[in-house]
Symmetry: none
Subunit: 242 residues, 4 copies
Amino acid sequence: MTAAAPAPRGRAASRGRIDKRQAILDAAFTVFANRGYAGACMEEIAEVAGVAKHTVYNHLGDKESLFHAAMEAAGSAVMAENLALAEQLTVDQSAVASTAGGQADPVRTRLEDVGRLLLHQCCDPRSWALRRLLHAEITRFPDLLEAVWGRGADRLRQTLADRMARLSLAGLLRPCDPVEAAEQFLALLTGPMEARSQLGTRPVPDAERELVAHAAVSTFLRAYRDAAPGASPSPSSLPATA
Amino acid sequence: MTAAAPAPRGRAASRGRIDKRQAILDAAFTVFANRGYAGACMEEIAEVAGVAKHTVYNHLGDKESLFHAAMEAAGSAVMAENLALAEQLTVDQSAVASTAGGQADPVRTRLEDVGRLLLHQCCDPRSWALRRLLHAEITRFPDLLEAVWGRGADRLRQTLADRMARLSLAGLLRPCDPVEAAEQFLALLTGPMEARSQLGTRPVPDAERELVAHAAVSTFLRAYRDAAPGASPSPSSLPATA
Amino acid sequence: MTAAAPAPRGRAASRGRIDKRQAILDAAFTVFANRGYAGACMEEIAEVAGVAKHTVYNHLGDKESLFHAAMEAAGSAVMAENLALAEQLTVDQSAVASTAGGQADPVRTRLEDVGRLLLHQCCDPRSWALRRLLHAEITRFPDLLEAVWGRGADRLRQTLADRMARLSLAGLLRPCDPVEAAEQFLALLTGPMEARSQLGTRPVPDAERELVAHAAVSTFLRAYRDAAPGASPSPSSLPATA
Amino acid sequence: MTAAAPAPRGRAASRGRIDKRQAILDAAFTVFANRGYAGACMEEIAEVAGVAKHTVYNHLGDKESLFHAAMEAAGSAVMAENLALAEQLTVDQSAVASTAGGQADPVRTRLEDVGRLLLHQCCDPRSWALRRLLHAEITRFPDLLEAVWGRGADRLRQTLADRMARLSLAGLLRPCDPVEAAEQFLALLTGPMEARSQLGTRPVPDAERELVAHAAVSTFLRAYRDAAPGASPSPSSLPATA
DNA sequence: AATGAATGAGGATTCATTCAT
DNA sequence: TATGAATGAATCCTCATTCAT
């Protein structure tokens, strides 16, 4: 593994360092997630990472720093995924035009796709672990919010709000406060999952998540699509919710 | 201290016992909320409760039992309050009738009242502490969910669903799945608070909570009040649908 | 040991506590003396004291507090002994008078007695241990000086100065600054011991200490007894000066 | 840095080695003085010396060897200074003769000069640090005495004794045991400084040191100059002491 | 020769729990 | 029953020292 070719010394070395650092961060997140901050012990983290106890200290300082670093790493990974998803919430005009008068409902489809994916990510074990640790330690480490969400949560909402604004401008949603729309869209999606997944301790079947996503989008569209004459969101979807 | 009057021995004594037990439970919840389960120490709990360390053991057993008991006590208190609120979600017919054609919108008003109060309780420091501890320790104490929500969360949703069903039957809401309606109503209310209160570490001003409640109810009504052809969700059009 | 008779509860209990506390302090001083502050370990102290490690913490707090307490205890014991000695430096007039014209020299005798005893105490292993620890840790614990000497060293010098002043007033020493006299008397006594005992690591035989005491007193008297014209400092001439 | 001139390689290199070795020794002494032996850590020493940790091991072996070397280096430096001073204690006959019957007192002057300088060196921070470390570690490293004083302390006393003997032979001091005279001269000089400088933690003003030196010499001369008729040490100095 | 990473042992401290009163 | 003292296990962290480059 250390190499097909001898390779430039410096790079090989720092690559080793980086790998080890990453291994420690991963191990730390796993152990913290399992035991909580206070319950986690450095020894186990080192063990899981496959390094000596002191190596952990060399790389990432004391327990508190390690915790911050591990949370930040996990946080930015999760956030990046969420943002990437949110950015996919676009509906190109051609799709709309081409289906005018037909059965398809490209807005609904797109929302449901994005919703389903967001929900999928939110129910990811790592996401739940992150959220649980955040809740658990937020009072003792108030900086965590900034470190983990790092404007990320807000950015998610803002990104969604951007898309909502565009949809609204395009006449695909009624005029509305896009930030509020984003906030409520997220609430309708993720709100029900807390109870359904029992705070992340029960794996939610795909089908159930789809149901929730579908219901969220239906309600959202009912509320946010201009209730023009005959504007029941789309006849075909009604029976499912009712 | 309890000796001011001789008093019926038995009762005085057990009253003292009960008081002490309650004091310990309260102290335990406070300390656990501040330090987390692993970080809390029995000594501090005893200190806060004003009893000797060993007395804690006498009354409530070891740390784990104490934690369960404290969480259960706090949980049922919070749940009781929430249930009481949910049960208030009724709209008497006379009110509806008497305002027919007028400006008032008793359904909206009622929903907003209940929503505002639910939000108020959800933002209570004790509620947040409970939720944080639940998130924090759920993986290590899976029984907590049952002990704390004790079907309570579900009961809240069911109670709300009952009310929704009645409103729907009364024609005040469109035909719908009342459980889903309850779930989404709660989601629209409480979902936004997580970010806004920064996981309960930022006190949310009353005005902001009202805004959220108002927005939630508006969206909820747009989606759940029958959008008859040409039905704009504005309050003035309600009588027509009812 | 804890008692022939059951004895009054309270007293027996606190006596036990006090004994244990004292045992810990003694053990601590011993271990600190052997290993130095940083080199000493709480475990060994507990072992030597015959208690559990945590009991040490219960009684005397952390390592630093324990160190202070142990040093203070040892210091005041040593200081008390020294002061008691210094106070013995008196020459009653009758003794002086009754020996007039004779061979005896009560001032010299008294000084030598006190000097010998002071030297004896200064060479005590405990005294050396105390002095060594003081030197060793004074830069890291500047408060130690106050805690250990606690005006004690100064009080020793002052007490000696008092005696010197009386001797001077009585005409047994020439007029002089009594504080300076005391300081130099101590210097002549103890100064040579540092090298001779190799900083306290070599036991100094009694005979050698006596020699030093004798030399110190001789030099002191030569300098501090009025050198009247023609006064050779030889003992035989003493009566003439007195 | 060493590259200004190509320079004979061998010499430049070993010069570099020597410089580095010296830098490590200096750093070690500083750190040991600040933290004590057990409290010092190799890392800090390396840091202060500006080299990598392992370089310290390469040059000077393990912690114990390093300590010995650092103490020995500091010790011989201090000792050399002291010896150089002691050797200056000479009074040339011409000076004595030329001032016979006059006011000047060349013996006193010389003793005071030397005393003042010795005291100055004894109060040097490095001297105190050395003495403190010696006291601190003497029981764990009995060889230190030999390594640091390396017969140095004794040599100081012997050198002083030589001078005393010469003075005595020259009739400038009364007949006496020169070793004892040297010992007591040193005791009178340095004895008082321990308390006055608070074991070296308080900087003693020049004036105070001069006072001590003056008093020491006065007492020494009273005791060691033949108390021939009118032999009060020097009229001018009396008022000061009296 | 010099460096930086890695290690394993050891020590201070905290804590849940038990005993004696 | 209530208490305060005592315990032993467990945990974070530091340090002297070695290895690979």
